[in-house]
């Protein structure tokens, strides 16, 4: 078998072996199918779920929270990162807050956000944004600080205005690193939304997972996990598309293709 077809065949074979092993284990070993349902039960539960319009409402709620939180985190992170890279005293003044806010386990703030912003979408968006903010912000800060003095000299010689400098030099230089932060952030944004739904609310996939658990509908719970994974995969792939579209010149794009 050629290396090329091996690269296609091996991962598929590995997944099939894993699922078969899982199924075999549940059917033969002492573990109860109630605690760990076999893969085929999860597939059955999933195929029932996807025809329920209520499910798609929950999917939409979680997606809305995740994307809103993510977008807020990106806008805020890029803006503050640029601002602090540009005016170092602002960074020095903000340093204690940055460090403390970075060290707080943001998940622990979730109940507080529910208290402040209620049981609706808003609190989940805030939790999602709080989690997604740091990877974007710290990457943006480093990226905007790393603009080469020689490139700045070119823009000084050409008498570029601040906005021209930002659009033609600073943003394109920073984008590859910011996008790396966004890849991490988008996953964290989803975690934030789900955790918010766990602790307060009556819609979204996180809420659905908790209610399936309370009804001991374990295959359906697994079904929700599969859906969340797919959602994460789609969001991550979208960032990859964004990278190819925004930074086609960069090695992170040319090597990925």
């Amino acid at each position: 078998m050629s290396p090329r077809s091996q690269r296609l065949f091996l991962p598929i074979a590995a997944v099939i072996v894993f699922l078969a092993g899982w199924s075999l284990y549940v059917h033969t070993a002492v573990v109860s199918a109630f605690v760990l349902p076999p893969p085929e039960a999860i597939v059955a539960a999933l195929s029932k779920m996807v025809f329920d319009p209520k499910l798609w409402h929950h999917v939409l709620v979680t997606a809305t929270e995740t994307v809103s939180g993510f977008v807020i985190a990106v806008l805020l992170g890029v803006f503050l990162g640029f601002f602090m890279a540009r005016i170092p005293p602002v960074e020095w003044a903000a340093k204690p807050f940055i460090i403390v806010f970075q060290l707080i386990p943001k998940i622990a703030l979730a109940p507080l956000f529910i208290l402040w912003f209620g049981f609706g979408l808003e609190s989940k968006i805030v939790i999602s944004a709080a989690l997604a903010f740091f990877p974007v912000f710290s990457n943006a800060l480093v990226a905007f600080k790393s603009i080469e003095p020689g490139d700045r000299d070119v823009m000084v010689i050409l008498q570029a205005r601040p906005m021209q400098r930002f659009v033609m030099l600073e943003l394109p230089t920073a984008l590859p690193v910011i996008l790396t932060g966004m890849e991490v952030a988008v996953v964290l944004a989803m975690i934030g939304a789900i955790v918010g739904e766990f602790i307060g609310g009556n819609e979204g996939l996180g809420f659905l997972a908790v209610s399936y658990l309370q009804n001991l509908a374990v295959p359906d719970l697994f079904g929700v996990i599969v859906l969340l994974t797919l959602m994460g995969l789609i969001l991550y792939a979208l960032i990859g598309r964004l990278r190819a579209w925004l930074t086609p010149w960069h090695v992170s794009t040319t090597h990925a293709m």
Partner: protein, 268 residues
Amino acid sequence: MGANSTTPRTDIRISGLSKVFGSGSAAVAAITDANLEIRHGEFVSLLGPSGCGKTTLLRIIAGLEIPTAGSIEVRGKPVWSGTVRSTEATRPVSMMFQEARLFPWFTVAENVALPLRIAGIDRAKRRERAHEICETVGLKGFEDHRPTALSGGMRQRASLARALVTDPEVLLLDEPFGALDAMTRDALNVELMEVCARAKVTTILVTHSITEAAFLSDSVVVLAPRPARITNIVEISFERPRDLDLQRRVEFQDMVGHLRHLLTGAAA
């Protein structure tokens, strides 16, 4: 560089110029009491070993460094008023660096046209001008390539095109071909000389190559380190146009020997 009534106007006038980096006991004099006048259309080299302040001097002329003392005027207008770089004085000044400093997110033509884009020239006009100047510097056919796809020599051609696209009055070159192999470097130097002569641009080249300075220049400014200062200004009067055969002639070798003597004497 004696001035008389028939010489063209003075493009650059440097008087009593000093630059100190740091302060107190850590202070380092990058250039001390430099005086220099450069006439329009002249090709001048700043020649000296590392640490002699030649690059600092060039960066002060460009308005990239602020002088500690003294003044620098481009075509009668001071480059620095207090701590503010004068955009009016530096507008006709263009600069090329040792690294090409092309932006990878732009194509070659877009990089070359960048100065026009910043100046607000419309897209069609700047594209036309970029293609024109690309042809002049031998980049025809590479306009739509990414800079990363070019060789080092071709990148420096693009960088030169970007420096010339606005028809500058003054061209500052900071060891532009220093990182290239000897053959590419020779070829580009010949082309540079031709392009500068045709454009009638006043050119200041920073170099540590004696041969390069003697070959390209109308006059060579010799600098020495510790303390960093100008020690000699040598007129080079070989007829133009010059070609690489000039470098084999006895007069040329004598000039190189003379410059080397000045450099070693200054360093001692």
